[in-house]
Protein backbone atom coordinates (compact mmCIF):
# COMPACT_ATOMS: atom_id res chain seq x y z
CA UNK A 1 0.00 0.00 0.00
CA UNK A 2 1.54 3.24 -1.09
CA UNK A 3 0.85 6.54 0.57
CA UNK A 4 -2.54 8.04 -0.42
CA UNK A 5 -2.29 11.47 -1.97
CA UNK A 6 -3.92 13.98 0.33
CA UNK A 7 -6.13 16.43 -1.42
CA UNK A 8 -6.33 19.69 0.44
CA UNK A 9 -9.58 21.56 -0.16
CA UNK A 10 -9.05 25.25 0.22
CA UNK A 11 -11.98 27.59 0.80
CA UNK A 12 -12.65 31.07 2.14
CA UNK A 13 -12.59 31.49 5.86
CA UNK A 14 -15.54 32.87 7.75
CA UNK A 15 -13.68 36.12 8.32
CA UNK A 16 -12.98 36.55 4.59
CA UNK A 17 -16.63 36.01 3.73
CA UNK A 18 -17.66 38.41 6.47
CA UNK A 19 -15.36 41.14 5.16
CA UNK A 20 -16.52 40.61 1.55
CA UNK A 21 -20.20 40.74 2.48
CA UNK A 22 -19.54 43.78 4.68
CA UNK A 23 -17.93 45.67 1.80
CA UNK A 24 -20.72 44.65 -0.58
CA UNK A 25 -23.31 45.71 2.00
CA UNK A 26 -21.62 49.09 2.18
CA UNK A 27 -21.10 49.67 -1.55
CA UNK A 28 -24.36 48.32 -3.01
CA UNK A 29 -26.72 50.70 -1.15
CA UNK A 30 -24.58 53.64 -2.27
CA UNK A 31 -24.61 52.48 -5.89
CA UNK A 32 -28.36 51.85 -5.90
CA UNK A 33 -29.02 55.15 -4.16
CA UNK A 34 -27.10 56.98 -6.89
CA UNK A 35 -28.93 55.10 -9.65
CA UNK A 36 -32.29 55.81 -7.96
CA UNK A 37 -31.47 59.54 -7.70
CA UNK A 38 -30.49 59.72 -11.37
CA UNK A 39 -33.64 57.91 -12.51
CA UNK A 40 -35.82 60.07 -10.26
CA UNK A 41 -34.29 63.27 -11.64
CA UNK A 42 -34.71 62.04 -15.20
CA UNK A 43 -38.36 61.21 -14.50
CA UNK A 44 -38.93 64.71 -13.11
CA UNK A 45 -37.42 66.31 -16.23
CA UNK A 46 -39.55 64.11 -18.49
CA UNK A 47 -42.69 65.02 -16.53
CA UNK A 48 -41.86 68.72 -16.64
CA UNK A 49 -41.27 68.50 -20.40
CA UNK A 50 -44.64 66.76 -20.87
CA UNK A 51 -46.43 69.41 -18.78
CA UNK A 52 -44.75 72.25 -20.69
CA UNK A 53 -45.47 70.60 -24.02
CA UNK A 54 -49.17 70.22 -23.18
CA UNK A 55 -49.44 73.74 -21.75
CA UNK A 56 -47.76 75.31 -24.79
CA UNK A 57 -50.02 73.29 -27.08
CA UNK A 58 -53.18 74.50 -25.31
CA UNK A 59 -52.04 78.13 -25.45
CA UNK A 60 -51.18 77.90 -29.16
CA UNK A 61 -54.43 76.18 -30.10
CA UNK A 62 -56.57 78.59 -28.07
CA UNK A 63 -54.77 81.65 -29.47
CA UNK A 64 -54.97 80.51 -33.09
CA UNK A 65 -58.58 79.42 -32.72
CA UNK A 66 -59.82 82.59 -31.05
CA UNK A 67 -57.76 85.10 -33.03
CA UNK A 68 -58.39 83.43 -36.36
CA UNK A 69 -62.00 82.36 -36.18
CA UNK A 70 -63.94 84.03 -33.36
CA UNK A 71 -65.92 87.23 -33.70
CA UNK A 72 -67.77 87.85 -30.44
CA UNK A 73 -68.24 86.69 -26.85
CA UNK A 74 -71.52 85.57 -25.31
CA UNK A 75 -72.66 84.13 -21.98
CA UNK A 76 -74.77 81.30 -23.45
CA UNK A 77 -74.67 79.00 -26.45
CA UNK A 78 -77.77 80.62 -27.97
CA UNK A 79 -75.52 83.66 -28.53
CA UNK A 80 -77.93 86.27 -27.19
CA UNK A 81 -76.15 88.25 -24.45
CA UNK A 82 -73.03 89.71 -25.95
CA UNK A 83 -70.18 90.47 -23.54
CA UNK A 84 -67.24 92.87 -23.70
CA UNK A 85 -68.65 94.34 -26.90
CA UNK A 86 -67.08 97.76 -26.51
CA UNK A 87 -70.29 99.69 -26.22
CA UNK A 88 -69.37 100.65 -22.66
CA UNK A 89 -65.86 101.24 -21.42
CA UNK A 90 -64.12 98.72 -19.15
CA UNK A 91 -66.50 95.89 -19.69
CA UNK A 92 -65.35 92.63 -18.21
CA UNK A 93 -66.75 89.13 -18.05
CA UNK A 94 -65.20 85.93 -16.78
CA UNK A 95 -65.93 82.28 -16.26
CA UNK A 96 -64.14 79.75 -14.06
CA UNK A 97 -65.23 76.75 -16.12
CA UNK A 98 -65.72 78.14 -19.62
CA UNK A 99 -69.17 76.52 -19.75
CA UNK A 100 -70.86 79.92 -19.71
CA UNK A 101 -68.37 81.66 -21.98
CA UNK A 102 -69.08 81.22 -25.68
CA UNK A 103 -67.49 82.58 -28.81
CA UNK A 104 -69.32 83.16 -32.05
CA UNK A 105 -67.20 81.84 -34.88
CA UNK A 106 -67.01 83.19 -38.44
CA UNK A 107 -69.79 80.78 -39.48
CA UNK A 108 -72.09 81.98 -36.70
CA UNK A 109 -71.75 78.83 -34.56
CA UNK A 110 -71.20 78.80 -30.79
CA UNK A 111 -67.78 77.56 -29.67
CA UNK A 112 -66.45 77.38 -26.12
CA UNK A 113 -63.18 76.43 -24.48
CA UNK A 114 -63.94 74.85 -21.12
CA UNK A 115 -62.65 72.76 -18.27
CA UNK A 116 -63.87 69.18 -18.59
CA UNK A 117 -62.94 66.96 -15.61
CA UNK A 118 -59.40 68.25 -15.37
CA UNK A 119 -58.93 68.61 -19.13
CA UNK A 120 -59.28 71.63 -21.38
CA UNK A 121 -61.71 70.92 -24.18
CA UNK A 122 -63.33 72.80 -27.03
CA UNK A 123 -67.03 72.61 -27.79
CA UNK A 124 -69.38 71.86 -29.37
CA UNK A 125 -67.36 68.90 -30.70
CA UNK A 126 -65.94 68.24 -27.19
CA UNK A 127 -62.37 67.73 -28.31
CA UNK A 128 -59.88 67.46 -25.44
CA UNK A 129 -56.80 69.60 -25.90
CA UNK A 130 -54.89 67.87 -23.09
CA UNK A 131 -54.25 64.15 -22.62
CA UNK A 132 -54.51 61.83 -19.61
CA UNK A 133 -50.93 62.47 -18.50
CA UNK A 134 -51.73 65.95 -17.24
CA UNK A 135 -54.49 67.65 -15.26
CA UNK A 136 -55.66 71.26 -15.35
CA UNK A 137 -57.01 73.34 -12.50
CA UNK A 138 -57.64 77.01 -11.63
CA UNK A 139 -58.91 77.51 -15.15
CA UNK A 140 -60.31 80.91 -15.98
CA UNK A 141 -61.34 82.51 -19.24
CA UNK A 142 -62.23 86.18 -19.25
CA UNK A 143 -62.68 89.14 -21.52
CA UNK A 144 -62.15 92.86 -21.08
CA UNK A 145 -62.73 95.83 -23.29
CA UNK A 146 -60.83 99.00 -22.53
CA UNK A 147 -62.34 101.29 -25.15
CA UNK A 148 -65.42 102.11 -27.12
CA UNK A 149 -66.09 100.22 -30.32
CA UNK A 150 -62.91 98.20 -29.96
CA UNK A 151 -62.49 94.46 -30.04
CA UNK A 152 -62.16 92.78 -26.63
CA UNK A 153 -59.13 91.18 -25.04
CA UNK A 154 -59.48 87.56 -24.09
CA UNK A 155 -57.43 86.15 -21.22
CA UNK A 156 -57.04 82.45 -20.58
CA UNK A 157 -55.21 81.22 -17.50
CA UNK A 158 -54.76 77.82 -15.96
CA UNK A 159 -52.42 75.66 -13.91
CA UNK A 160 -51.31 72.41 -15.50
CA UNK A 161 -49.61 69.59 -13.60
CA UNK A 162 -48.50 66.01 -14.12
CA UNK A 163 -51.22 63.52 -13.23
CA UNK A 164 -49.78 61.42 -10.41
CA UNK A 165 -51.09 60.13 -7.09
CA UNK A 166 -47.76 60.86 -5.43
CA UNK A 167 -47.60 63.93 -3.20
CA UNK A 168 -43.83 64.00 -2.84
CA UNK A 169 -42.44 67.35 -4.09
CA UNK A 170 -39.82 65.63 -6.26
CA UNK A 171 -42.57 63.78 -8.16
CA UNK A 172 -44.61 66.88 -8.95
CA UNK A 173 -44.31 68.97 -12.10
CA UNK A 174 -46.52 72.03 -12.33
CA UNK A 175 -46.62 75.17 -14.46
CA UNK A 176 -48.93 78.19 -14.56
CA UNK A 177 -50.04 79.65 -17.87
CA UNK A 178 -51.64 82.94 -18.77
CA UNK A 179 -52.16 84.36 -22.21
CA UNK A 180 -54.02 87.44 -23.39
CA UNK A 181 -54.84 88.43 -26.93
CA UNK A 182 -57.28 90.51 -28.84
CA UNK A 183 -60.15 89.35 -31.01
CA UNK A 184 -59.31 90.39 -34.55
CA UNK A 185 -62.69 90.17 -36.17
Amino acid sequence: MGKMKRIELKSFTFLEILVAVGILGFVLPIVFNIIFTIVQQQIKITRLAIVKNQGDYVVNVVKNLVIGQMTGIYSEKELVNKKCDGLDNNQTYDSSTGKDFFFKDINGAAVNIYLNQGKIATGPANINLTNDQVMVENYQISCANFGSFTTPFVTVKFDIYYNTISTRPEDLARLSYQTSFRLRN
Binding site: Q42, K52, Q178, S180
Partner: protein, 151 residues
Protein backbone atom coordinates in the same frame (compact mmCIF):
# COMPACT_ATOMS: atom_id res chain seq x y z
CA UNK B 1 9.62 10.49 -1.88
CA UNK B 2 11.86 12.85 -3.74
CA UNK B 3 9.39 12.88 -6.61
CA UNK B 4 6.49 13.78 -4.26
CA UNK B 5 8.55 16.52 -2.66
CA UNK B 6 9.18 18.15 -6.03
CA UNK B 7 5.51 17.94 -6.98
CA UNK B 8 4.31 19.64 -3.80
CA UNK B 9 2.57 22.78 -4.83
CA UNK B 10 2.88 25.73 -2.60
CA UNK B 11 -0.52 27.33 -2.24
CA UNK B 12 -0.32 31.08 -1.66
CA UNK B 13 -2.83 34.00 -1.64
CA UNK B 14 -2.45 37.35 -3.38
CA UNK B 15 0.62 39.35 -2.61
CA UNK B 16 0.33 42.80 -1.06
CA UNK B 17 1.30 44.46 -4.35
CA UNK B 18 -1.42 42.59 -6.23
CA UNK B 19 -4.04 43.59 -3.69
CA UNK B 20 -2.84 47.20 -3.73
CA UNK B 21 -2.98 47.37 -7.53
CA UNK B 22 -6.47 45.87 -7.57
CA UNK B 23 -7.77 48.24 -4.89
CA UNK B 24 -6.19 51.23 -6.65
CA UNK B 25 -7.80 50.35 -9.99
CA UNK B 26 -11.13 49.78 -8.26
CA UNK B 27 -10.87 53.13 -6.46
CA UNK B 28 -10.00 54.88 -9.70
CA UNK B 29 -13.07 53.35 -11.32
CA UNK B 30 -15.33 54.35 -8.43
CA UNK B 31 -13.99 57.91 -8.36
CA UNK B 32 -14.56 58.24 -12.11
CA UNK B 33 -18.07 56.81 -11.81
CA UNK B 34 -18.85 59.17 -8.94
CA UNK B 35 -17.53 62.19 -10.86
CA UNK B 36 -19.61 61.31 -13.91
CA UNK B 37 -22.67 60.76 -11.71
CA UNK B 38 -22.29 64.09 -9.92
CA UNK B 39 -21.72 65.90 -13.23
CA UNK B 40 -24.69 64.15 -14.80
CA UNK B 41 -26.98 65.00 -11.87
CA UNK B 42 -25.93 68.64 -11.98
CA UNK B 43 -26.61 68.83 -15.70
CA UNK B 44 -30.02 67.22 -15.20
CA UNK B 45 -30.91 69.72 -12.47
CA UNK B 46 -29.74 72.54 -14.74
CA UNK B 47 -31.90 71.20 -17.57
CA UNK B 48 -34.89 71.11 -15.25
CA UNK B 49 -34.28 74.74 -14.34
CA UNK B 50 -33.85 75.62 -18.03
CA UNK B 51 -37.25 74.15 -18.94
CA UNK B 52 -38.90 76.29 -16.25
CA UNK B 53 -36.81 79.33 -17.27
CA UNK B 54 -37.92 79.02 -20.91
CA UNK B 55 -41.52 78.82 -19.68
CA UNK B 56 -41.06 82.07 -17.72
CA UNK B 57 -39.51 83.75 -20.77
CA UNK B 58 -42.50 82.68 -22.88
CA UNK B 59 -44.77 84.04 -20.15
CA UNK B 60 -43.02 87.42 -20.33
CA UNK B 61 -43.23 87.42 -24.12
CA UNK B 62 -46.98 86.75 -23.97
CA UNK B 63 -47.44 89.52 -21.42
CA UNK B 64 -45.40 92.02 -23.45
CA UNK B 65 -47.45 91.20 -26.55
CA UNK B 66 -50.59 91.86 -24.51
CA UNK B 67 -49.18 95.16 -23.21
CA UNK B 68 -48.32 96.20 -26.75
CA UNK B 69 -51.85 95.37 -27.90
CA UNK B 70 -53.32 97.31 -24.99
CA UNK B 71 -51.31 100.48 -25.42
CA UNK B 72 -49.11 100.25 -28.48
CA UNK B 73 -48.04 103.91 -28.51
CA UNK B 74 -46.59 103.88 -24.99
CA UNK B 75 -45.14 100.42 -25.45
CA UNK B 76 -43.21 101.24 -28.61
CA UNK B 77 -41.62 104.27 -26.95
CA UNK B 78 -40.11 102.29 -24.11
CA UNK B 79 -36.36 102.29 -23.66
CA UNK B 80 -33.99 100.84 -21.10
CA UNK B 81 -34.03 97.93 -18.70
CA UNK B 82 -36.87 96.53 -16.62
CA UNK B 83 -36.91 93.81 -14.01
CA UNK B 84 -39.92 91.55 -14.59
CA UNK B 85 -39.89 89.25 -11.59
CA UNK B 86 -43.48 90.44 -11.36
CA UNK B 87 -45.36 91.13 -14.57
CA UNK B 88 -45.64 94.90 -14.19
CA UNK B 89 -43.64 98.03 -15.03
CA UNK B 90 -42.84 98.95 -11.41
CA UNK B 91 -39.13 98.10 -11.51
CA UNK B 92 -37.39 100.04 -14.31
CA UNK B 93 -33.87 98.64 -13.87
CA UNK B 94 -31.99 95.40 -14.22
CA UNK B 95 -32.82 92.91 -11.47
CA UNK B 96 -30.44 93.28 -8.54
CA UNK B 97 -31.98 90.76 -6.18
CA UNK B 98 -29.88 88.05 -4.60
CA UNK B 99 -31.46 84.80 -5.70
CA UNK B 100 -32.65 82.47 -4.33
CA UNK B 101 -34.78 84.81 -2.26
CA UNK B 102 -38.32 86.01 -1.72
CA UNK B 103 -37.98 88.89 -4.20
CA UNK B 104 -37.01 86.50 -7.01
CA UNK B 105 -39.31 84.91 -9.51
CA UNK B 106 -40.45 81.61 -8.01
CA UNK B 107 -37.90 82.42 -5.27
CA UNK B 108 -35.13 81.39 -7.67
CA UNK B 109 -34.89 83.37 -10.93
CA UNK B 110 -34.22 86.96 -11.98
CA UNK B 111 -36.15 87.90 -15.12
CA UNK B 112 -35.36 91.09 -16.98
CA UNK B 113 -35.65 92.75 -20.35
CA UNK B 114 -33.85 95.56 -22.11
CA UNK B 115 -35.89 97.67 -24.52
CA UNK B 116 -34.12 99.44 -27.36
CA UNK B 117 -36.26 101.74 -29.37
CA UNK B 118 -35.08 101.82 -32.95
CA UNK B 119 -37.52 104.52 -33.94
CA UNK B 120 -40.02 104.00 -36.69
CA UNK B 121 -42.40 102.25 -34.28
CA UNK B 122 -40.10 99.29 -33.71
CA UNK B 123 -38.81 98.19 -30.34
CA UNK B 124 -36.27 95.43 -29.83
CA UNK B 125 -36.65 93.56 -26.53
CA UNK B 126 -33.78 91.44 -25.23
CA UNK B 127 -35.19 89.21 -22.53
CA UNK B 128 -33.10 87.13 -20.19
CA UNK B 129 -33.60 85.02 -17.14
CA UNK B 130 -30.74 84.35 -14.75
CA UNK B 131 -30.16 82.05 -11.83
CA UNK B 132 -27.32 80.57 -9.80
CA UNK B 133 -26.70 76.89 -10.50
CA UNK B 134 -24.93 75.76 -7.30
CA UNK B 135 -21.76 77.72 -7.92
CA UNK B 136 -22.06 79.41 -11.32
CA UNK B 137 -24.49 81.82 -12.96
CA UNK B 138 -26.65 80.48 -15.79
CA UNK B 139 -28.90 82.45 -18.11
CA UNK B 140 -31.37 81.87 -20.93
CA UNK B 141 -31.88 84.64 -23.45
CA UNK B 142 -34.40 85.49 -26.11
CA UNK B 143 -34.89 88.48 -28.38
CA UNK B 144 -38.21 89.74 -29.70
CA UNK B 145 -39.01 92.58 -32.05
CA UNK B 146 -42.31 94.36 -31.56
CA UNK B 147 -43.71 96.69 -34.18
CA UNK B 148 -46.97 98.32 -35.17
CA UNK B 149 -47.92 95.71 -37.70
CA UNK B 150 -51.31 97.29 -38.22
CA UNK B 151 -49.65 100.10 -40.22
Amino acid sequence: MAIFKNCKKKSTGFSLIEVLVFVSVLNLFFIMALTITVFSLRRMKENEHKIVAVHYLDQLKEWLAYEKEKDGISFLQRNGAYCFNNLDWSNPSLCSFNCPGAACLADFYNRQAVFSNNGADVVNVSMSINWIEIDRPVSVKSDVIFSVWEK
